[in-house]
């Protein structure tokens, strides 16, 4: 979903930068607040950022005969809420823009908006909605991560269609073209990302349940409540 360096007209680049900046600034504040209030979160914050690092480096073949990569932003959005993910996602995108020539500085605003803002918020919304309907945690985590991934690529398609409308069919025609490249390719990858996020969440449930309870992701089970009460 990386829009390559220089591949957005200057006006679009500036507009997407302006749209993303408040989310990142707000995210930095949320992040410093979280670290101050709960220093023990630092380790899990690092792990959430690391998950994005790994997943966005994996280029995986897809059904359309092309390769693309997951984003890994659903996990952090579910654990720490989307504002913090905006920061972690931006760090990943900066690393890739500066060292890999993947994405770019002029397109950073647009890429941050799709991968670090729109995706995490969409995934988080789906996750919360499913939890509200009392679906099992892992089902909500799967679909949260799935949509965080897929929505990122849909937003990239919209961004490119806005900048490069088709001469004959306009915005819609271009959107279909870019969605065929990005969104279709992404469906199996979004499933993979959902499964991997469930896997990490399961490992976290085994290793760091207390953190998950503090973050409001997990609840104490009946027997654990009894044990706590006994202590």
């Amino acid at each position: 979903m990386h829009i390559a360096e220089g591949f957005l007209p200057p006006l679009h680049a500036v507009a997407w930068g302006a749209a993303s900046a408040p989310f990142v600034v707000h995210g930095v504040r949320a992040l410093t607040r979280e670290v101050k209030a709960n220093p023990e979160s630092t380790l899990l914050l690092g792990a959430s950022g690391a998950f994005t690092f790994v997943l966005s480096a994996l280029k995986i073949p897809s059904v359309t005969g092309s390769c693309s990569h997951p984003t890994g932003t659903g996990l952090g959005a579910i654990l720490f809420r989307p504002p913090i993910m905006a920061v972690l996602g931006t760090i990943t995108l900066l690393f890739q823009a500066l060292l890999l020539a993947h994405g770019g500085l002029t397109t950073l605003g647009a890429n941050v908006f799709s991968m670090a803002v729109a995706g995490p918020w969409a995934g988080y919304a789906v996750y919360r909605l499913l939890r509200k309907f009392d679906l099992p945690l892992m089902v909500a985590v799967f679909f949260g991560a799935f949509f965080a991934d897929l929505v990122t690529y849909c937003v990239t398609s919209v961004q490119l269609a806005l900048a490069f409308p088709d001469a004959a069919t306009g915005f819609t025609g271009a959107l279909v073209k870019f969605a065929e490249i990005f969104a279709l390719t992404q469906i199996p990858l979004a499933v993979s990302e959902g499964l991997l996020t469930v896997l990490v969440m399961r490992l976290l449930m085994q290793s760091s349940k207390s953190d998950l309870i503090r973050l409001g992701v997990a609840k104490l089970t009946g027997s654990e409540k009894q044990r706590e009460a006994a202590v």
Partner: protein
């Protein structure tokens, strides 16, 4: 294998199958460049839609070859995987430490009382 470990292995196998199936089924066969990156395809689509468009900025640093680029991608994945492994290692150590303390405490309590 415990039930938990079985489910985790199954999840990994599913992810692997999703990645390998497109290759095994030869879904890229008809393409000019099978399994090219979607990002590169988007660039091609832009040049198709707007042949006169010139990128107006170029990367400050570009990996000198595909090999160096894949090395840097591997570095990114390794950094991430390293931090994740460190996290789970620390948590495991803490759990084992807590369990060891819990196991030792009942034996020590009578000694301090006497």
């Amino acid at each position: 294998m415990t039930r938990n470990a079985k489910i985790n292995t199954l999840l990994l196998l599913l992810v692997a199958a999703l990645a390998v199936l497109p290759l095994a089924l030869g879904l890229g066969d008809g393409k000019e460049e099978p399994f090219a990156g979607a990002d590169a395809q988007a660039e091609a689509a832009i040049t198709e839609l707007r042949p006169d468009y010139e990128p107006w900025f170029s990367p400050l640093y570009e990996p000198p070859s595909a090999e160096v680029e894949s090395a840097l991608f591997a570095l990114q994945a390794a950094l991430g995987a390293g931090v994740l492994a460190y996290y789970f290692g620390v948590r495991k150590g803490r759990r084992q430490g807590a369990a060891a303390v819990a196991a030792a405490t009942p034996a020590e309590t009578p000694a301090t009382e006497s």
